[in-house]
């Protein structure tokens, strides 16, 4: 409501200034007859932005810590519930799906009852559909999922919005496919989902090809890590644990960040494969710990 009022006020001022000043860019009219200089205007905008930020953070939602310091710091504490996060990946790559499932696993460890809703088209073509038999290996129980299948993208995204408003749902995942192609529709819908997520306090995760990230709380791009780094790891040729290159491309409350992560389905933990920067500023590669299962067998 506060944002709406601010937007209305700003619109009123600018429309009045267009009518009266008529070409003068130095001064604008604000309120009833008073003129505001550009510097005052800038300070007014900065004040309004501060108010918007305060209004946004006034209702605090819990956060989901990834337990990877680099990302948790970049996210200012973790991935926030009550917001929508965009997870993109490349075509014919299951990395983004795997990363979303890893996040769900972290959530399910904290909340053992609430269901997860997964909205996807009935036939996703070459993108395929999620295979429930694969989830137990990632430590995720398929019984916790409610699947919403619809071929029509608008109906499907409408369902995503409806679920976001529901309390008692742990998270909702939406596969948007080609829905992001229409920029206008996409932006309008993103704004609606933001409001819906705040109503329900549910975390929304949108999964699909690269799309405009404006309006989301965070934007991510996840791919399977290139084989170069992987080949350098010694003695782990039998290690098939998921290995991802994760980029936090946008964070409204934090800073962008990138890292390579290994996911251990046994423990449900994400591990960073890259250490802190060395003295000369280069990020050095860490020797990745053996998987928990191999370690236990060798012990």
């Amino acid at each position: 409501m506060l944002r709406l009022q601010i937007m209305q006020t700003t619109y009123f001022k600018s429309s009045v200034s267009d009518g009266l000043v008529n070409g003068s860019s130095d001064l604008i009219q604000g309120g009833r007859g008073g003129y505001i200089s550009p510097s005052c205007k800038a300070s007014r905008f900065s004040e309004l932005k501060t108010q918007i930020r305060q209004a946004d953070t006034a209702r605090s939602f819990p956060t989901l810590q990834l337990k990877v310091d680099r990302f948790d710091i970049a996210l200012s504490g973790g991935l926030r519930f009550g917001h929508v996060h965009l997870m993109t990946g490349r075509s014919f790559d299951g990395a983004a799906t795997g990363f979303v499932l890893a996040l769900l696993r972290l959530m399910m460890d904290q909340d053992t009852l609430s269901p997860v809703v997964w909205c996807s088209p009935s036939h996703a073509g070459h993108a395929g559909h999620i295979l429930a038999s694969a989830l137990p290996a990632l430590g995720v129980s398929p019984s916790r999922f409610i699947f919403v299948h619809d071929q029509h993208p608008k109906r499907l995204m409408g369902a995503f919005e409806e679920v976001l408003q529901t309390r008692g749902v742990l998270a909702v995942v939406g596969e948007y496919g080609l829905f992001a192609r229409s920029a206008d529709t996409w932006q309008r819908w993103v704004r609606r989902t933001r409001l819906a997520a705040k109503t329900g306090g549910t975390m929304g995760l949108l999964l699909g090809p690269p799309a405009p990230v404006s309006g989301f709380e965070t934007g991510w791009h996840i791919t399977t890590a290139s084989a170069d780094l992987f080949a350098e790891r010694e003695g782990l040729q039998t290690d098939w644990r998921p290995y991802w290159s994760v980029q936090l491309t946008y964070s409204r409350q934090g800073t962008p960040c990138a890292d390579k992560l290994i996911y251990d389905g046994l423990t449900g933990q994400l591990q960073s494969a890259i250490s802190r920067p060395d003295k000369d500023g280069q990020a050095s590669q860490l020797r990745v710990s053996k998987p928990a299962l191999l370690a236990s067998i060798s012990a």
């Binding site: 009852l113 409610i146 309390r167 008692g168 399977t224 098939w240 928990a292 299962l293």
Partner: protein
Amino acid sequence: MDVSGDDRQIIYLHLPCLPIRRMARVQGWSLEEKVGLYQREKGADRLVYLSAEARADGVQAGLSVADARARHPDMRFAPVDHNADQALLTAFARWAFRYSPVTGIDADGLGIWIEATGASHLFAHATDFHDTDADDTDSGLKAMCADLYRQISQTGLRASIASASTFGAAFALAHYHRDVSAQPVHAPARRARMREALADLPLAALRLPLDILHALSQAGLRQISHLYPLSRADLTARFGPDMVLRYSQLFGDQPDSQIPVQPVQPVAVTKIWAEPVMGYEALCHMVSQLTAKMAERLLDAELAARSFELGWQRTDGQVSCLLFRLSRPGRREQTLQRLIAGAAEKIDAEFGVEYSWIQAHELTVDVPVTALLGTDQDSLQASQVSDMVDILAARLGPDKVQRVVSQSDWHIADSQAYQPVADVTDKTGQWSMPVLAGLASPRPVRLLDRPEPVKVVAMMPDHPPAMIRWRHYNWTVLRATGPERVGPRWWDPNRTDRLSRDYYRVEVEDGRRLWLCREGLVERGDKVSWFIYGLFS
């Protein structure tokens, strides 16, 4: 209702803590508190029901309230409300219609009975209880009892369940068998074996008055087995016909009449309109009015419904109807209004609607059994999720809101099936999670809608691929694992697949991990073709 007979199956559910639990809920007391319920007996208020904590502290039934209050100042007391307890038992009995259409209450024994004859075989599909030596009826009865036990246990209520061929035997076992609190007890159907099962039970299991029990005790008769050598004529002469009647009813020699609870009556709201209703706003108002009235009726009748039929008759005589379904029984006006909100758009009123109605189907007691006694947060959240499922099902169609269940099939594409979410609280069809997730068979997180043929170069015909060409990709395989061989369904004459498949998990140079399949065996001389099936994470 005659419930005697050798081939009858009676389930008795004993709920000893029901009055305490109900009173704790009404008064807002914690379940960990010491609670005693009393009634007036011989000029004094004497304790009748006690919570487990009070019993553990040494308080016994029959103690006067004054004494108990003096010994335990922190104990809470309340008078017994038999009518409310009976109403709650009736609610339980109506809830048990899911097991059988014939159920009843035993107010004195704090229990309900379920006539499972002819209904138990419907539960025989529960594989956990399938015994190859027993028929479907026995395994079904055990599965039914186990399900009943699980449902009641979810409420945190202590329950004792027993099944037998007579009401008396089921009552006796549910109240007095030493193992009945841990698991359901089943009495054998054959008379000789049933006599053995009942032999050790005390004579109080015969539902006898206290004076007859006292007389039997004085005569040295304390267990049911003590009566076996005695003739019924002697017992009648010494203890009266009532005692022998109960003894005979125990084995089905005399009929034991119990009155079942009445099934719920259908609820419908009808409205004849003075003027034909037409126009979107008027139709919205019509639907809203009917829905509000229906919610009010259901509230008054303490019922809830799973499905609703909204019908209307146009001025030209054409009758149409719409069906709406809930994932769990509901009656809240807000829920019904949201469920039926879009109905007005679907009504083709033409020249107007002159008569409309709404009917509630699949009626049941207002809420699931978990909510009969529970006030927990889980129940509230489940209702919100249920509302969401109902709205999506009404908007998209019931077959669009699904959950996945596992299928026992080695073929990966057939290893799962989707089914509509009928009840969000239903836990059947759960997936078994591996003890060690890392040991599970590798499966791709995404499965392509249909396998895509790929061109493959392998070092040897039966080796894993070394290079893959698919669409505009040319991939070099860095490593591969497999094969996992899956044969065709040779036992199925209608099978479509006739070749064995070898599945490989491969990692290509840009990191992608693919699930490839070689169809056909080289050693058998089959024509070999390669497909891409799925994508690993």
